[in-house]
């Protein structure tokens, strides 16, 4: 059974990467923090009696499920918003849609000029390329290479076969190489 100190140390070791993983997928700072918080709480609630060595794959599985839940809830919310939207003022709706579209475009597809000019240009390009990957490919790539899980652990965390993990990783690598080449980034 992991002690409070061991769980704290474990979470301190993974929290930054967990946040980045959530951010690559969700593209929203506050939602990514919410997801990480929920994943931490679920880990402590359900698995505080597990040895600390078993926590890494469990936490990754919880994190991936929490990210999926976030999107599922978003779909339900969008469904109700679409149902209610005809009742709203049309002008307001159009303005809001354009504003949110502009904000989304700005936040996800157009890095700021400062960012482009900074020394972090390469990192921004890599993060952008990762964010553009299909979700399952990104999950497989990050779990396999960033979290250093083996193929079997990655498959367990993703709830798929080991063959699927290898395929997702292969495709993710190829896609990332192509995207970075297009952006003129060489590693």
């Amino acid at each position: 059974m992991a002690s409070s100190q061991e769980i704290d140390a474990f979470l301190a070791g993974v929290e930054r990467r967990a946040f980045k993983q959530a951010l690559f997928t969700i593209q929203d700072h506050h939602s990514a923090l919410d997801v990480v918080q929920n994943a931490m709480l679920k880990l402590v609630e359900r698995y505080h009696d597990k040895p600390v060595a078993e926590l890494a794959p469990l936490f990754q599985r919880i994190l991936q499920n929490t990210i999926h839940d976030h999107f599922r809830r978003g779909k339900v919310r969008d469904f109700w918003v679409r149902l209610v939207s005809p009742m709203r003022d049309k002008d307001d709706e159009n303005t809001e849609t354009l504003e949110s579209l502009a904000a989304h475009t700005e936040s996800t597809h157009q890095p700021s000029p400062e960012k482009e000019a900074s020394a972090n240009q390469q990192l921004a390009a890599i993060e952008q390329a990762l964010a553009e990957l299909p979700q399952r490919q990104r999950e497989a790539f990050l779990l396999r290479y960033w979290e250093e899980l083996d193929v079997a652990e990655t498959a367990k965390a993703m709830g798929c076969s080991e063959g699927s993990v290898k395929t997702h990783c292969f495709r993710a690598n190829n896609a990332l190489a192509a995207k970075l080449k297009d952006r003129g980034i060489s590693l």
Binding site: R16, F19, N120, L123, Y145, L176
Partner: protein, 116 residues
């Protein structure tokens, strides 16, 4: 190490440098969230023990609820209404309140008590 693995590791090295340079405000928020989660360990371990047991054994929880509902229904259906001499008096004097006639068990009781 394959060529694919080498490329992936170069990417991961770059990503790790980004993680190390994460902004202080986000790090502070993550630290607060972590402390809150670890602090909740005590309450999860003790305060919500029964709740977590029920969550883990959801089938048993459903069966328990069904058992309680069926038992309650069976008890209400088979319960014999208590005999009261006052009811006899009210019946003889015709002073029964109207809602006594709306009571489903009243007819059964009346038939059971009737000598005819």
């Amino acid at each position: 190490m394959t060529k694919e693995d080498e490329f992936a590791h170069r990417l991961i090295t770059a990503l790790n440098s980004g993680v190390r340079e994460m902004d202080a405000a986000t790090l502070q928020q993550l630290s607060v969230l972590r402390r809150q989660a670890v602090a909740s360990q005590h309450s999860f371990a003790h305060g919500h023990h029964i709740l977590s047991l029920l969550q883990r054994h959801s089938l048993a929880s459903v069966l328990l609820v069904l058992f309680i509902l069926i038992s309650g229904y069976w008890f209400v259906q088979t319960r014999q209404p208590a005999y009261s001499p006052e009811t006899d008096i009210l019946l003889l004097t015709g002073d029964l309140p109207p809602n006594a006639y709306a009571d489903k068990t009243f007819s059964k009781w009346l038939e059971a008590r009737s000598p005819f």
